[in-house]
């Protein structure tokens, strides 16, 4: 039984760009082949991960702390007090991907493990994993250490 039965819009928008976010049944247990959020993670916590990925409100001269790849996909996380990342997905994922949307379209997201999935024939050449730029960006804004960046780059948990 999926923890989200129908596509549900979160009432808030992200602080930086005012992006809207919806929760999809597919990534809440409806599709056993899809990456799914842990049920222990509340919907507000999921939105907070998205909000964090979009960055903080821009103040001139400061880094907005947005975590994005070359294509504009956003990546979110939640740190726990010991400096590691919380496991947020059913397959032990510690990062979430929010695929880039055109203006006006509501965003959604799912946990993503640093290693590639088996790439279907029709998606050969796509990168089904965060790019190195994402890890470099997390390091640049001080979210992860050099050690953690290297671990994530190897597809290992931190």
């Amino acid at each position: 039984m999926p923890s989200v039965q129908v596509v549900t819009l979160h009432p808030s928008s992200t602080a930086r760009r005012g992006l809207r976010y919806e929760f999809t049944p597919k990534h809440h247990g409806a599709d056993s082949d899809a990456a799914c959020w842990l049920t222990e993670l509340g919907l507000d916590e999921e939105f907070a991960i998205f909000d964090r990925a979009d960055g903080i409100e821009e103040v001139e001269g400061t880094d907005p702390r947005q975590i994005a790849d070359e294509a504009g996909n956003l990546y979110g996380y939640e740190l726990i007090p010991d400096g590691t990342m919380r496991v947020i997905g059913t397959w032990y994922q510690q990062l979430a991907e929010f695929p880039v949307q055109v203006d006006g379209v509501i965003w959604h997201g799912y946990p993503i493990w640093p290693i590639n999935e088996l790439t279907p024939e029709n998606r050969r050449g796509e990168k089904c994993r965060p790019t190195k730029r994402v890890f470099n960006r997390l390091f640049e804004v001080g979210v992860i250490t050099r050690q953690q960046r290297k671990r994530l780059g190897k597809g290992e948990p931190v």
């Binding site: 590691t84 397959w91 493990w113 290693i115 994993r129 050690q147 290297k150």
Partner: protein, 354 residues
């Protein structure tokens, strides 16, 4: 040697790309290094100058595993692909690529490469001459087994076993006979246990150790004939557990904060000694990402900084005998968890011909 001596261990650093993996050179005495750009470097003497640097991963990702079958067949894993190389002195190297990410790769005595694919199961390849390799994948099954680490064991009777770290699924064990159409994985876990690594503890036997992310050690005397492991909470560990290794009866645990070495602990447990009959660990604070044993002589430590440190195992063992670490901090507690056991049937399919 003084305590400081350990920290004076030899190291080698690199300038072109970040080193991510280190192990033995299959071709000669020396080391193999894997890099963040997906290349390999072989040295022809321990930490001597590299001669043969080769780009291996087509995806150009960090190397997280390397295995060899003799000197003709190599396998290299990254989070994006697994590459198989057929190397011959009188022919061009033939390269085959599996287009899926892996957490590592190991070789079996019977001549297979086995690679842990996480939620996607297990990749099994028996390398053939040339570029065309049959790549078979065994899926995780309905239980959603996440295969994070794989270990290949064999004993003197010719039995082979695969042992898996499957995170919350615990430890998985399968007898291995090659290309089984259906593979049964026997799992054993307990509430809250998150197994992140497994290792061999005695060459030529089916004994193995596993460790949880928070430092619970599981020791199996024979993975195929004894499912209930000796279970010990290793007290005093700081950081998140990354790796476990055993060499010469000693136990090595790498965490995000340090390397811990217990002199003779594994040897003693295999003999049935009490967990208290061992010295407290040597603690080497290090920001490391990987460690490996080189021919039971050296501990190779891949650092977060771009270097590999090498420490003689005997040196560490001697240090362990003299350590003054507070025993009360590193108290070891034998646990009697309520075990949850199960069997997962995995089916095999032909994923690709590389």
């Amino acid at each position: 040697m003084s305590r400081k001596g350990i920290y004076d261990a030899l190291s080698c650093s690199f300038s072109e790309s970040e080193v991510t993996w280190a192990g033995a050179n299959p071709f000669s005495d020396g080391l193999t290094f894997g890099f963040e750009d997906g290349s390999l470097l072989f040295t022809d003497e321990i930490a001597g100058p590299g001669k043969f640097r080769q780009q291996v991963s087509k995806a150009g990702e960090s190397i997280n595993g390397f295995a060899n079958l003799g000197v003709n067949n190599l396998a290299v894993s990254t989070r994006a692909d697994v590459t198989f190389l057929d190397v011959g002195p009188d022919r061009p190297t033939a390269i085959s690529t599996f287009s899926g990410g892996a957490h590592g790769v190991v070789a079996t005595r019977s001549g297979f490469f086995v690679s842990a694919l996480g939620a996607n199961g297990l990749l099994v390849v028996k390398p053939e001459r040339g570029e065309n390799q049959l790549m078979r994948v065994t899926e995780g099954g309905n239980a959603g087994l996440y295969i994070y680490r794989a270990l290949a064991l064999d004993n003197s009777e010719g039995l082979e076993a695969l042992v898996f770290a499957t995170r919350r699924g615990g430890v998985g064990v399968s007898q291995f006979s090659g290309y089984e159409a259906v593979r049964n994985v026997h799992t054993i876990t307990s509430s809250g246990l998150d197994i992140v690594d497994v290792c061999e503890v005695q060459t030529g036997t089916l004994a193995a150790a596993a460790i949880s992310i928070d430092g619970i050690l599981l020791l199996f005397h024979d993975v195929l004939n004894q499912t209930r492991p000796v279970t010990i909470q290793l007290g005093g560990l700081e950081g998140t557990v990354y790796r476990i290794l055993s060499s010469a009866g000693h136990l090595f645990v790498l965490t995000s904060k340090a390397i811990y070495v217990w002199h003779g602990l594994i040897e003693g447990l295999l003999k049935g000694n009490s967990t208290k009959e061992s010295t407290p660990p040597v603690v080497m604070p290090k920001a490391a990402v990987e460690m490996n044993v080189y021919r039971n002589q050296l501990l190779l430590i891949v650092m977060a900084a771009n270097e590999v440190q090498r420490i003689e195992i005997e040196t560490i063992a001697q240090m362990a005998l003299k350590t003054s670490n507070h025993t009360e901090r590193f108290v070891r507690t034998t646990l009697k968890p309520t075990w949850l056991e199960g069997d997962v049937k995995q089916s095999t399919f032909l994923a690709s011909v590389g």
